[in-house]
Amino acid sequence: MTKKRIRTVENWITIVFFGLIFLSMSIYLCIYVKNNEQTLIGNSYNSRQKLLARENIRGRIYDSDGNLLAETLTNEAGEEYRSYPYHNLYAHAVGFSNHGTTGIESMAGFYLINSDISLNEKMENDMAGRKNPGNNVYTTFDTDLQNVASDALGVCKGAVIVTEVKTGRILAMVSKPDFDPNTIPENWNAYVNNPQMSVLLNRTTQGLYPPGSTFKIITSLEYLRENPTALQDYTYTCNGKYVDEAENIDISCYHGSVHGKLDFVGSFAKSCNSSFANIGMSLDKDKFGNTLNGLLFNSGLPIEYNYSQSDLKVDSKTSDYDMAQISIGQGDAIITPIHLNLITSAIANKGVMMKPRVIDRVTDGNGKVIKTYADETEKRVMSEDEAKALSLMMEAVVLNGTGRKLQNDHYTAAGKTGSAEFNGNKEDAHAWFTGFAPVDDPEISVTIIVEGIGSGGDYAVPIARRIFNCYYGID
């Protein structure tokens, strides 16, 4: 018999069309689940944290030496509470989980509330009616450095961040004023209702400050890019002022100093505003804008803490007046301490910016390592030669410039001070220091800001000295 064949091409096209849609949808679903299993659980709108808390006891947080920074205990009434043995010391760095989550408590939340002990043990705990121990997180923090940094800041408002140059590990992160995370639930309203103190703000990552003279590092980088022989060629005679009446520019050196004849390194070491205004006026604005963007201005930083974005846009529309102000770190520029530390560390690390990290490893309740974190390179932000030149200039700051207080017999140091004026008042200045040690083969970088206290050389450098001394074990 003759079978009438029915044409089926169109049917197959329809099948393939929907087949491809369903295939891509399934793949999308699997990838989404794989990528977001950890990230979304930390969201405060996600109620599933509480769900896991019913089965697991939130894990512990340790510093790099195994000192306990946070643990969950049970009080007499049988209620769990989070305990922070170091009280105020790690307020911002470790954060808290008893009133929302911040800091490490937030970024490592997925690990802390999950338990990776064996199924066998889980079953035993289940039979015994016990909760499972959550995973423990070992951070990169060094409690000695953290203590010194916190003591050195004292009662001043400000921030200190200490980073291992070659790995990007953050060794200390202090923001003042601080608080005791043990009592956050009781004091929450008092903190929130006092915005002037902004106690809850992590100033290392969220505080936006005018960079002051520390910005001369960036101005110098751009000048070196445009004039590779500047170290040899540049000269300027400072009479205490840079004046350009046509543009209404009138910039004077800090405390009215007159620096006289200066080369490029000298201008930097003495932090001569007049010379740098002069340098700034010669810069190509578009290229400068690109350099700024390359250094992560106006964009995201590779950190997991809540942070603010450093902001400074320069392009051909920027006026000469603004250029002069920007070159010495005044004007519209604002930067976070961690961002300045990233740039400083990159200079110390031969131009390569490392991704900062605060977690070394995660272990299960029995101490078995379940995840280790490797050092990650973020990107190269300047050439090795540029880094070398800047390093040389920063060394000069310590040898015969504003950072002389760092001179000692045990280690070499390099850095840049800053005194960032604010409120337009010459008397009010934030004291900055950013630098690293030792100069030849840098190990750690330090960035310090002390709010409203005076010059960086007088107030921030001594803090850096105490931190370096602590790191090198000098009393």
Binding site: M1, K4, I6, R7, T8, V9, E10, N11, T14, I15, F18, G19, I21, F22, M25, S26, Y28, L29, C30, Y32, V33, K34, N36, E37, T39, L40, I41, N43, Y45, N46, S47, R48, L51, L119, K122, M123, D126, M127
Partner: protein, 461 residues
């Protein structure tokens, strides 16, 4: 002990779902979707029963309510007796399609009962009634030629229903979709779907001139516009896509398909400009986390559920899918993904796609043009709705707020889905019977030849 049992049953369910899907794949690879595949069918049914037992026993033990055991037994009785009854009345029914249907309904029962037990009872009653009615409906479609000739009547009834909703319907969440008769709430646009498919299949089956095709286009456009003005854009899109593919397969004209997609894209842009709730949904799709407090709330909660479940799920009753607004109707897939895991969720998608394939392939071998188009229309209608709801829930596409057929809670939705599949079974049965007769005839021929040969042999000896 309870912990061990629930953990093991969680992995077992995933495993059984995978096995079930493998059987679907084997069935597709074997080719000709006719006649017996008893091995596959019986194995699938065993997996189905095991999944139901594991799931309801877990729920029963975890929540400490015996009601779940009772529901589990009842639902096994109803669903299994449906397929058995179907095979007794219509021996040549497509058994894998029937399995898929009860599998999906079964998963729906598990998840809905876990979300809200009382709603499951209501759903259960509706499913039971629908299945009984549908058995009759299947018979009705052996007279498909008469139904085909009534396509104008269907066109008018369908349009009348939609217009009635437009004028008299209640407004829920910005869309006019529901309608109350004697205290019972209906979503007539769900039933209009079946009528629409019958209408376009019938109309295209007899359309021999170009102007008649155009006429069908105009009437179909009226359907879509009626839905657009009711602000039921999800269903408008489903009607449109269904029509487009039936048009394409009926006319075999690729230009229609391309023009249709371009028109659809243009209409989407217009809808985006015209309707604020479309804009809200697109924005919530593009960046849900920045609008987590309002427009993005639903979708982010759905994403939390999916991501938290991971590949094997939290385990039944151990997640919090109830945090997602409208979870039992619009986001049932996310709830499945959270508690049964992403692997089981992908298996669920595969079962849906397997059903689509079965309908499409039966359309290829059907002898009647009307039945072919009816099967294609039903298949596309079904699979596109699955795509809209699942894709919306996992942020693959913007949210449209339609139900997942068979699985979602909603009387009109599940009833329509059951009717649609059983109508398709009806035309499959007629065709399979025809093919079976032909096959018998062929076999008779060969037997005759064989006996001839015998005789020859005899004479030789």
């Amino acid at each position: 002990m309870l912990y061990i049992y629930t953990e093991i049953s969680k992995y077992m369910i995933t495993f059984l779902m995978i096995l079930y899907c493998l059987e679907c794949v084997i069935y597709e690879i074997k080719g000709e979707p006719v006649f017996d595949h008893n091995g596959i069918v019986i194995r699938q049914r065993i997996y189905f029963v095991l999944i139901q037992i594991l799931a309801f026993s877990t729920l029963c033990l975890k929540l400490g309510q015996l009601d779940y055991a009772f529901l589990g037994v009842m639902d096994l009785i109803v669903l299994l007796s449906t397929v058995v009854l179907m095979e007794m009345i219509y021996p040549s029914v497509n058994k894998v399609l029937a399995n898929n249907m009860i599998m999906l309904i079964g998963i729906g029962f598990i998840i809905i009962s876990r979300l809200d037990f009382n709603k499951t009872i209501r759903q259960f009653v509706i499913v039971t009634v629908s299945l009984c009615l549908a058995l009759v409906l299947t018979k009705l479609f052996s007279y498909y030629k008469k139904i085909r000739d009534l396509y104008i009547v269907f066109a008018v009834i369908g349009l009348a229903i939609l217009l009635m909703v437009l004028i008299l319907g209640h407004t829920v969440n910005g869309s006019k979709i529901s309608f109350s008769i004697a205290g019972l709430k209906f979503q007539p646009s769900e039933f209009a779907k079946i009528i629409f498919v019958i209408f376009i299949a019938g109309a295209f089956a007899v359309a021999d001139k170009f102007y008649r095709v155009l006429l069908i286009c105009v009437v179909a456009a009226m359907y879509v516009l009626a839905l657009v003005f009711s602000r039921d854009l999800g269903n408008a899109l489903i009607f449109f896509i269904t029509f487009l593919f039936v048009l394409f397969i009926a006319t075999r004209n690729y230009a229609f398909l391309i023009l249709g997609f371009m028109g659809g894209a243009g209409a989407s842009v217009i809808a985006y400009r015209m309707f604020s709730h479309v804009r809200v949904r697109v924005q919530a799709f593009l960046d849900p986390f920045s609008k987590i407090d309002n427009q993005g709330y639903q979708i982010t909660q759905s994403l939390f559920a999916i991501s938290c479940g991971g590949f094997f799920g939290m385990g039944l009753s151990k997640g919090v899918p109830e945090d997602i607004p409208f979870v039992e109707s619009d986001f049932i897939f996310s709830a499945v993904s959270e508690e049964m895991g992403a692997i089981a969720a992908v298996c669920l998608l595969m079962i849906c796609f397997s059903s689509f394939m079965i309908l499409m392939r039966n359309a290829m071998i059907n002898r009647s043009r009307f039945c072919r188009l009816l099967l294609v229309g039903s298949a596309v209608l079904y699979i596109f709705q699955v795509f809209l709801t699942v894709g919306g829930g996992i942020k693959f596409i913007p949210l449209t707020g339609v139900t997942l057929p068979f699985v979602s809670y909603g009387g009109s939705s599940v009833m329509t889905s059951i009717f649609l599949f059983m109508i398709c079974q009806g035309v499959i049965v007629v065709n399979n019977d025809k093919l079976y007769e032909e096959w018998l005839e062929e076999n008779d021929d060969s037997e005759e030849e064989y006996s001839d040969y015998d005789e020859e042999e005899d004479t030789n000896s």
